[in-house]
């Protein structure tokens, strides 16, 4: 009962919600770059929310199914095909022994999620299978490797077949520019009114320098009155501003502490939307607050809870 990896593609990683409880010894959380797509993939299959999935970054992953099962595809449209037929994201698909699931290149978004009914069964390291290549933690064998040709990813047999799709209104358009809220926190007070005005009225572009640690943006440089700060814990979505004035949004594989001034923080869901954007996408920020981020999360949780996948027979 497994998927065999025929081609590991650009960067396909096993992920669960992340490795929590070890940041005090410098171990980052990892986890899905886009929580929205990850949570929906498990929800479409009625999986536990923490069930492990494959995060396909950029594309080119190719899998061979060694057993019948049911999968959900969410997140980016990477031109996926099942046995040569197009398989759009935000749907579940029946998979039969011998089927090939192949991803192409990005059509919309950068990161696709493949969940399997009942969840994948990888090695758990420090409570999680989240793959952090830099730290050598997580993944199929626990040593932080990305998926590669020959890997066999196990899953359980005999789960009910689920036919489900996300309502069209809930599907994000990753080709759209982003306008996202920034929670003023950390060293916000150390950016002058003029610098804040520049930040919130300017337009930033996603640069080429983006990865699972951070998203470097380019645009009108902004400066804090501080050169550096005493290193402190970095939250997911924090926006640090080094001396060149170009903001860096810190993502799932970020270092746990850092010494650059930070103007604020994105909500987790907004950081996930940023993670689907590639170089050249325009990003604008508005001044938000924690209450708005809490409300956004509550609405998302409510949609997940009230969603009803239709269950077909076993």
């Amino acid at each position: 009962m497994s998927f065999e990896v025929l081609d590991g593609g650009m960067l396909a990683l096993l992920q669960d919600p992340g490795r929590y409880g070890y940041q005090h010894i410098g171990v980052t959380t990892g986890g899905p770059m886009d929580e929205h797509a990850f949570r929906w993939a498990n929800r479409l299959l009625a999986n536990p929310p923490e069930a492990a999935q494959i995060e396909i970054n950029i594309g080119k992953l190719s899998l061979l199914a060694h057993e019948d099962t049911c999968i959900a595809l969410t997140g980016a449209d990477l031109g996926a095909q099942i046995n040569g037929e197009a398989a759009a994201p935000w749907h579940t698909y029946q998979i039969h022994r011998g089927d090939r699931i192949e991803f192409g290149m990005p059509v919309a978004g950068l990161r696709a999620y493949l969940a399997v009914a009942g969840g994948l069964k990888p090695t758990v390291k420090l409570g999680s299978c989240a793959t952090v290549v830099r730290e050598g933690l997580g993944g199929l064998d626990g040593r932080g490797q990305k998926l590669a040709k020959g890997d066999c990813i196990g899953f359980d047999r005999s789960h009910p077949k689920t036919m489900a799709s996300l309502p069209a209104g809930e599907i994000p358009d990753y080709n759209q520019d982003l306008h996202i809220g920034v929670i003023p926190s950390y060293q916000y007070a150390h950016f002058s009114a003029g610098e804040r005005m520049k930040f919130f009225t300017g337009c930033y572009e996603v640069s080429q320098r983006i990865d699972r640690m951070g998203y470097r943006l380019t645009g009108d440089p902004i400066h804090s009155e501080l050169d550096g700060i005493i290193s402190e814990g970095i939250a997911y979505g924090a926006i640090q501003v080094p001396s060149d004035g170009q903001p860096i949004v810190l993502m799932k594989d970020r270092q746990t502490i850092g010494g650059y001034p930070k103007i604020g923080c994105l909500s987790a869901l907004d950081a996930g939307q940023l993670a689907q954007r590639g170089p050249g996408t325009r990003i604008r920020f508005y001044l938000a607050d924690v209450a708005e981020a809490e409300a956004q999360r509550a609405i998302f949780n409510h949609k997940l809870e009230t969603f009803k996948p239709s269950l077909a027979g076993p």
């Binding site: 010894i25 410098g26 926190s185 290193s231 402190e232």
Partner: protein, 230 residues
């Protein structure tokens, strides 16, 4: 102390705005108090020099619920007398030999002291663990005697061997794994700083005290030390 929201699942607590042993002690006590009292809500804690980042489960509480419990736990933690006996001093054997002390000569040049004096100064004091980060188990220790407080290298090395003991200005640290780095390397410990297969994982925690014990080549090898370049 200042408690500030960072995002919808994170608070940061600041205890001061300068690096000091006293504030490091407050950070350690606060971390322990939060761990003891809020384990049902807190999913991660990141103590550092002057602050503690508190990550909580936003599905089980909101920012008001966690803030009031944080305040309560921290005020109780403050009242407790500093208990330094609980803060163990960890002794780390270090071989300060030519083969592994890659930058000892630079430290000697900088300080105008002999090798023996540099080693004596580095190993005779007790350090505090101020923060852990950069890579898993990388502990920032302070405060280095200013006579040997050589700044970082202008060009970092591509790879620093596991166990290397380095100096960067007022800080000193052990590389728990082979990573790139710019610290001035004075020796190497045979002790494993991080071990994913042990229960404790990391040998030191933020707030602990550390002493280096100078050992000779034979003891270093007997303790399993490696002279390899990487």
């Amino acid at each position: 102390m200042i408690i500030e929201a960072v995002n919808e699942s994170t608070y940061i607590v600041y205890f001061g705005d300068r690096i000091s042993d006293d504030i490091a002690g407050q950070v350690k006590r606060a971390t322990e108090a939060i761990r003891q009292n809020l384990s049902d809500l807190v999913i991660d804690l990141v103590p550092s020099y002057t602050s503690v980042l508190v990550c909580y489960d936003a599905n089980r509480t909101d920012r008001f619920g966690i803030a009031s419990r944080l305040r309560k736990a921290l005020s109780e933690g403050e009242q407790e007398a500093p208990d330094e006996s609980a803060s163990s001093t960890i002794e780390l054997p270090v071989y300060y030999g030519d083969e592994v002390g890659l930058d000892l000569d630079e430290v000697c040049d900088y300080s105008g002291l002999s090798r023996d004096e540099v080693v004596r100064i580095h190993s005779e004091q007790t350090y505090r663990v101020y923060a852990i980060g950069f890579s898993p188990g990388f502990a920032y220790l302070g405060i280095t005697d200013q006579r040997i407080a050589l700044p970082r290298k202008a060009t970092p090395r591509q790879k620093i061997p596991t166990g290397s003991v380095g100096i960067a200005g007022s800080q000193t640290a052990i590389y728990p794994s082979a990573t790139p780095g710019g610290w001035q390397i004075v020796g190497r410990t045979p002790q494993r700083m991080i071990d994913w297969d042990s229960d404790s994982l990391a040998l030191v925690s933020v707030g602990d005290r550390v002493r280096f014990r100078s050992i000779d080549r034979q003891e270093y090898l007997d303790l399993g030390g490696s002279l390899d370049e990487f």
